[in-house]
């Protein structure tokens, strides 16, 4: 008999498949179903840590779906702004579970809530600037929080073993202008992550590299580097 954990994984799988098919509304609906399930059991003491971890994952997934939805070709400015705000909200929620006392160790929400603010506001990376996306969204000094995020990921040592954490750390350092892409992504690449991990990382980097940012060329180099690695991996897999 499937457990509630199985049910949540199944819904996340459906959401990821719809996301990959660019059926974003349906994808978001499946994640919301998973969130409802996980929320129901969050108060159960034995489930608290596991459900908080699932909620962080689900909100992270939702943030990614909304970000991709925002950036579809020929979308109106209004559509872009609306969906980027939804994305930021979802990542902030993921970060709430990651940073609370639930014992969740992911850095995904923490980093992507900042990255999406950079996508939404081209001034976000300016020193001393506070990004404010309007009512209901916390204003954030992105450079300050990126530095905080870097310290947290480094001190957790998760980037030593976890390719998601390694990618988050590389991106944070890239955005902070600390190092070249090849060096920053070397830890990530040496873990031989699967193709879906490359796709996910590139889905974040590509739109950033299109923005008029001071680190644009580094971002473009990072996209080139990881695209080449992905192509090599895909070629090897296709045999």
């Amino acid at each position: 008999m499937p457990t509630i954990f199985d049910a949540i994984v199944d819904l996340k799988t459906k959401a990821k498949n719809r996301r990959d098919l660019e059926r974003y509304d349906r994808a978001a609906a499946f994640v919301q179903e998973a969130i409802v399930l996980a929320n129901k059991e969050l108060a159960t003491p034995e489930f608290r840590a596991k459900m908080a971890s699932e909620l962080a994952d689900c909100y992270g997934l939702l943030g990614g779906i909304e970000r991709r939805s925002a950036l579809v070709a020929s979308a109106s400015e209004e559509h872009v702004a609306d969906h980027l705000r939804r994305s930021v909200k979802a990542y902030d929620e993921a970060w709430r579970y990651e940073s609370g006392d639930f014992g969740v160790s992911s850095s995904y929400g923490m980093v992507n809530r900042l990255v999406t603010r950079v996508l939404a506001d081209p001034n976000a990376l300016i020193e001393g600037y506070v990004t404010d996306l309007g009512e209901g969204i916390e204003p954030v000094a992105v450079p300050v929080e990126l530095e905080e995020a870097r310290k947290k990921i480094e001190s957790s040592k998760r980037a030593e073993s976890d390719y998601w954490a390694a990618a988050d750390l590389a991106l944070v350092q890239l955005l902070l202008g600390k190092g070249n892409p090849a060096g920053l992504y070397s830890k990530y690449i040496e873990k031989s992550p699967p193709d879906y991990a490359y796709n996910s990382v590139l889905d974040v980097l590509r739109p950033l590299s299109d923005r008029d940012l001071a680190i644009k060329s580094d971002l473009q180099d990072a996209v080139k580097l990881l695209s080449e690695r992905l192509a090599r991996l895909q070629s090897a897999i296709s045999g």
């Binding site: 498949n17 489930f47 390719y163 954490a165 873990k191 193709d195 895909q234 296709s238």
Partner: protein, 706 residues
């Protein structure tokens, strides 16, 4: 007690006749329990339309149970148990003959022969006739089943004896068997019969006539095996642990739901009281999803039970001791359970102390059941997979290996005699003595103990394989070592050829015994001897007297003769208080819960389990690969290919195997959708035309079914 007329019945069976009508057949039967009648199998053909029995002195007929009329049948022996209603009520088991015959003896019975049938007003009247004669103790042997050889003091014509089949044969007031046939060439003066010991050697027969003693109330029951020396607090603590488990949402969600609130407590001595209890106990060993055994002192019978459990159930088995688990204790663990998780149920702790046995046992049950549900190869005892390995291959030249052959482990295991025995210093001379005697008897076989197996494979793996496949397995009970009894349990459970069990009749004390191992003065030692009837022997080392050596020679001659008999499947006498050499194995064939075996999984389920077993159920969320060294690029590529190809195979299997069912069966459609989602998730997003086409097909199928 002798023949009890209240149990004697006329068996009336209606069978279809060639003309399309029915005809009847009669025989004699005898109630063994309130609702089970023993008679000859041929009296009740498979195609019987109706079976009725009439109790002596009554006009009332008892009818066979319509849905399940035959409780047990053995056509080779020619015996059957008919289940009838109404029941006669509670009744004691008849007194069976205890010993084998060593001289001709008188026998008697009462039966319903045709010769005694009378006609009154055109109605048949069946009356009993008593008869007696001589049972020839040396007759009835030869090829096939060993029979009773009976002659009759007052012969009738062979036809006149019709109806006598199934009549109980009594010798000295004890049930010695049933009549099964009239030997025509003896002109009605000689019968053959089914021997009582042949019936009692059938585990299914014994189980079905047994009084119910141990029955697990559900498939969520926890079996608690209590040791003899410490009738401890274990049962109380397990009950509390179950209560805690049943309130633990994580346990309920991930470990298959609540457990039966009352643990089923069994004292080890009760399981050994008689064969009937033994069979009910091993049935429970097969069925219980959780078993907690008190291994305090590593008592031999408890270890034997663990050995059987290790073969029959990929369930959760927790070994618990009332001793404190310190380094001294852990260093004394028997080899076979060194890898197992041992918990302690002894001592007093504050309620919040994580070492409190209630917390420890509850968590062990939860974690064990959860892992059992999520990992198809879950094990908490060694053995289970090892005894399911194929038989090792023979030497290419097909020659028996020499004792010193460097390639000895390649030999077929029918060329091997595996000896399960202690290894401590005090046993060394005994090993030399016994192995030397074995070599005299079997000069072309290699004789190995666990430490003689030269294979570089894991010792346990090689040992358990040998225990299953070796044609001859010698077990020396002397010193009552826990590891020997664990391995004895393994052999009893997995081989149709029982072990050659030996026991020094002097039963010497175990001077090399470790402090935590208790064996002296245990009642279970006597019970084990009664139940499994080991062969006693005289230990005769080099310095032994001539008399001792003579005795040893006689002992081992008997041992080898007995073993030859069982390897050649010859009938051997089994005392009614004992189980036959292979009874445990044969009973397990029926009782083993094969539903839990992964070999029964559908191919797509097996492929799914295999892929998820390698990379996890929710791989993408993890970020850490579970496969060691897969950060090696080439390895990671091969791993990924292997995983997605398994998913593709699962998809194609399901789509094509259930192509037609998918049109009509909603459940199948849901299964396919779920499978499709998982396959889509795993397929790499490359431009490979085949993979692209497959992705499109799966998406289309999911859309079509949604």
């Amino acid at each position: 007690m002798g023949l009890d007329f209240k149990r004697l019945v006329l068996v009336f069976v209606t069978v279809p006749a060639a003309t399309g009508e029915s005809r009847y057949r009669v025989g004699t039967g005898y109630f063994l329990t309130g609702d089970l009648v023993l008679t000859a199998s041929h009296v009740v053909p498979e195609n019987a339309e109706a079976i009725e029995v009439r109790v002596e002195g009554s006009a009332e007929f008892h009818r066979s149970d319509k849905d399940d009329p035959i409780a047990w049948r053995d056509t080779v022996l020619d015996a059957v148990l008919i289940r009838v209603t109404p029941s006669l009520g509670e009744m004691n088991s008849p007194e069976w003959i205890q010993d084998s015959f060593t001289e001709n003896v008188g026998w008697d019975t009462a039966a319903y022969p045709i010769a005694a049938r009378q006609l009154f007003d055109e109605r048949e009247k069946w009356t009993t006739r008593g008869l007696k004669g001589t049972l020839y103790w040396q007759g009835g042997a030869g090829q096939g089943v060993h029979e009773l050889d009976l002659d009759v003091d007052a012969p009738a014509t062979p036809e006149g004896w019709g109806g006598i089949s199934g009549a109980p044969v009594f010798v000295g007031g004890r049930l010695a068997g049933i009549v099964k046939d009239v030997l025509k060439d003896f002109r009605g003066a000689r019968f053959s019969g089914v021997r009582a010991d042949a019936l009692l050697a059938e585990p299914a027969f014994r189980n079905v006539i047994a009084k119910r003693w141990l029955e697990l109330p559900s498939n969520r029951a926890v079996l608690v095996l209590l040791s003899e020396a410490r009738k401890s607090e274990l049962a109380r603590r397990v009950k509390a642990a179950i209560e805690r488990f049943n309130k633990d949402r994580l346990a309920l969600e991930t470990a298959g739901g609540p457990l039966a609130p009352e643990p089923v407590k069994v004292a080890i001595n009760d399981t050994l009281q008689n064969p009937e209890r033994w069979f009910q106990f091993i049935k429970a060993l097969c069925k219980a999803p959780v078993m907690i055994a008190d291994v305090t002192g590593f008592e031999p019978a408890v270890m034997l039970a663990l050995g059987i459990r290790a073969v029959v159930r990929r369930g959760v088995t927790i070994a618990s001791t009332s001793d404190q688990l310190d380094e001294a204790h852990l260093s004394q663990l028997p080899f076979n359970i060194q890898e197992s998780k041992l918990v302690s149920h002894g001592g007093d702790y504050t309620p919040t102390d994580p070492k409190h046995p209630v917390s420890v046992i509850s968590a062990a049950m939860r974690d064990g059941l959860r892992e059992l549900h999520s990992r198809i190869r879950y094990l908490d005892l060694p053995v289970y997979d090892a005894v399911r390995c194929p038989k090792p291959e023979r030497n290419i030249d097909n020659q028996p290996p020499s004792q010193n052959s460097s390639s000895e482990d390649k030999a077929g295991d029918s060329d091997t005699i595996v000896v399960l025995c202690p290894f401590h210093e005090e046993y060394r001379n005994r090993w030399v003595n016994i192995s030397s005697r074995l070599l005299d008897q079997y000069p072309n076989k290699r004789i190995v103990r666990m430490i003689d197996i030269s294979s570089p494979r894991l010792v346990g793996q090689a040992l358990y394989e040998q225990i299953r496949w070796a044609k001859t397995c010698v077990v020396d009970w002397t010193y009552w070592r826990p590891n020997v009894f664990f391995e004895l349990g393994v052999r009893l459970a997995c081989s149709d050829t029982g072990p050659m069990s030996l026991l020094d009749r002097a039963d010497p004390p175990d001077l090399g015994r470790k402090t935590l191992i208790q064996a002296p003065n245990l009642v279970q030692k006597r019970q084990l001897i009664e139940l499994f009837a080991p062969n006693t022997y005289q230990f005769a080392p080099f310095e032994a007297s001539e008399e001792e050596r003579d005795t040893a020679e006689k002992d081992f001659t008997l041992v080898f003769e007995a073993h030859e008999a069982i390897t050649k499947k010859q009938a051997t006498f089994v005392p009614s208080a004992a189980v036959s050499h292979n009874a445990t194995y044969r009973f397990l064939i029926e009782q083993f819960d094969w539903n839990q075996e992964r070999v029964n999984m559908r191919p797509d389920e097996l492929l799914r389990a295999s892929a998820e077993g390698d990379v996890g159920r929710d791989e993408q969320s993890s970020g850490e690969t579970t496969v060691l060294f897969s950060s090696n690029f080439e390895f990671s590529v091969r791993l990924r290919q292997s995983v997605y190809e398994r998913w593709i195979a699962a998809w194609y299997y399901f789509v094509h195997r259930y192509e037609h069912e998918l049109q009509t069966n909603a459940e199948r459609r849901e299964e396919l959708k779920a499978l499709g989602e998982d396959v889509l998730q795993v397929l790499p997003k490359t431009n490979d035309p085949f993979l692209k086409q497959l992705r499109d097909q799966i998406v289309d199928k999911i859309d079509e079914l949604s």
